[in-house]
Symmetry: C2
Subunit: 360 residues, 2 copies
């Protein structure tokens, strides 16, 4: 078999090898059923067990209270940008958004079609290279929305934003979910497209408090109401059975690694190594402010576009793939989610050191 | 490896073994890239080729004209039940629906939230066991919607319904798409959840004429506009990359089988064998009217619930799985989509003959 490379892609991204190997084993027959995982009815006993295990492992992993629903929803985080305001934002009400990058911008744009929106803070003035500390909330927002980690810009919140009384906190955690411990009780809704830290693309995990499920608008198409999916255990229509299966394997793998506290320790160690190298390098500069740095996506530049391109190209030849930064930041981006191994970070630093010696 | 059984599940359903084997090969490394198919960026060159091949093979397979977009959309057919009226049905306009089962019923219910609806015909009076011939259209419908094959009830349209002038034809073809030749030019929109004839669950194929893409409502959330997905080649957000990959393999497999005319011949042969046996059986009765029979889902009963249960249970022991009928029809259902092999139908008939001899 072809040797696997270190894949720094921002998403879809590396998955744990034991998870991929188990999925491969079960593609033509899930266990001894004689029916592949893609082919099992979502109403049958074999898939029912897959679903129940996924929910149980997710609940255990993040210590999710019983009054929160664990939903597997179609369409990734972008569909949540719609469902959140459609369910909760009425024309005369206001929703507060913290604008820290392209995805929070896209989220607020969807909300503007349903009600009033208010910008709590924005780091657009410096191309989203920091998490703003000064924040101004509207008077009585329905909810406060933020993006916990900004994939493109390499920034991350270290703590949850404040939430005015009467509002609930909603979070797009697509690029850092389950990378560190989380206090679910601070959130009304937390959601994540699966393709970075959880599984295949095209499916989202949504964790939502029961009172919000009950409160959501009722005049929406059934597919766009949280209550529909909560009532039918994510099987109102045929869910992405393979997506649920792989996410379940990832939850189990995270538990086997020691859970979220252990993952934070590993993720912090990986990121710190790379930032430490960057901070002493005379060729490479990190792009995010030091107090806003992401543990998941580490962005850096040489300041010379041609040299950046040369770096990415030579790195790829050495089995370090997907390092090209997003065009709105340029340079390089190393995405090192949960499944990305520490030895891949070591290999990157070795390569950078070598590249700096030759090109510095 | 465990021997594969004959899986008569209505969906998710059997996929072609060569497709599953190829997917398995590429789960840890797509070709020689060293990155598994689940882990490739949807913006990278390797996935770009997967996407382009899928579109090209789909276009070739069904002879889809260039003014139709081939879209891969989140959420299965149920999301299309919403997107269709949201994009095209205004409060003062009317959409016509042919009601031939649970899914067309669910489709019209979503449309009722956006504008007027009109029932062209309904076979509810006889538990949807036939395709009605008498049809009455509204005066100036925006579109006419029908479900070409009714998975639960085992009925299927043999030709497209008429369409009043000025309207376009919309079709949910989830359970018979690409099972026979199709004249795409008769349709404005044809869509299908993938999990029966095309691939994994959680994704839909939608083939839509360009003038409709342009005409759709513009005040909707971006994710719910066809134009968004057409403009971005189904990658406005991260699509189900694995779903597109597997569907592409299925399109290629269908071409290798000889295309849609060859598939129709095979599907007709499989279905006819089973119906011929049912028509001469004194134990089993088919439930659909003879002129409305589906080639994809064949429903039958003994008339005795206990005997039906015994049949399903003993069949499963013989490697004939998923034969239990939907609770709203009862009895048995054999779903024999494109990927279901003829020898599985032979095995079922042998078992039925044996069961009839013992229990008749």
């Amino acid at each position: 078999m072809t040797e696997r490379v270190f894949n720094f892609s921002a998403g879809p991204a590396m998955l744990p090898e034991p998870v991929l190997e188990e999925a491969r084993e079960n593609l033509l027959s899930l266990g001894d059923t004689g029916i592949g995982i893609l082919e099992h009815s979502h109403r049958g006993p074999a898939f029912k067990k897959v679903y129940e295990d996924a929910v149980a492992h997710c609940r255990q992993l993040a210590d999710i209270p019983e009054d929160y629903h664990i939903l597997f929803l179609h369409g990734g985080a972008s569909m949540q940008f719609c469902m959140l305001p459609m369910n909760f934002l009425t024309p005369d009400a206001t929703a507060d958004y913290l604008i820290t990058g392209r995805w929070s911008q896209r989220a607020i744009e969807q909300a503007q079609r349903f009600g009033q929106t208010h910008v709590v803070c924005s780091s657009k003035d410096r191309n989203f290279c920091y998490i703003p500390k000064e924040r101004q909330y509207s008077e009585r927002p329905t909810y406060v929305h933020f993006t916990s980690n900004n994939t493109i810009y390499g920034t991350q919140f270290t703590t949850e934003p404040d939430v005015p009384e009467g509002a609930f906190l909603a979070c797009d955690a697509s690029s850092d979910i389950f990378s560190r411990p989380i206090d679910i009780t601070k959130y009304g809704l937390i959601y994540a497209g699966a393709q970075k830290n959880l599984g295949p693309s095209g499916i989202a995990l949504a964790i939502i408090r029961d009172d919000l499920v009950q409160r959501g608008a009722e005049n929406l198409p059934d597919m766009l109401q949280y209550r529909t999916h909560a009532k039918h255990n994510s099987a109102y229509n045929t869910p992405s059975t393979f997506g649920i299966y792989v996410m379940g394997l990832v939850f189990k793998w995270l538990l086997d690694q020691g859970g979220l506290a252990a993952m934070e320790e590993r993720n912090r160690a990986k990121a710190n190594k790379l930032y430490e190298y960057l901070d002493q390098s005379s060729l490479f500069q990190p792009t995010a402010d030091a107090d806003s740095r992401s543990m998941m996506n580490i962005t850096f530049v040489t300041g010379n576009d041609e040299l950046d391109a040369k770096f990415c190209s030579e790195a790829a030849e050495q089995g370090l793939a997907g390092l090209k930064g997003h065009r709105s930041v340029g340079g390089m981006r190393a995405s090192i989610y949960n499944a990305f191994p520490e030895r891949g970070v070591d290999a990157l630093i070795d390569f950078m050191r070598d590249f700096e010696a030759k090109n510095g």
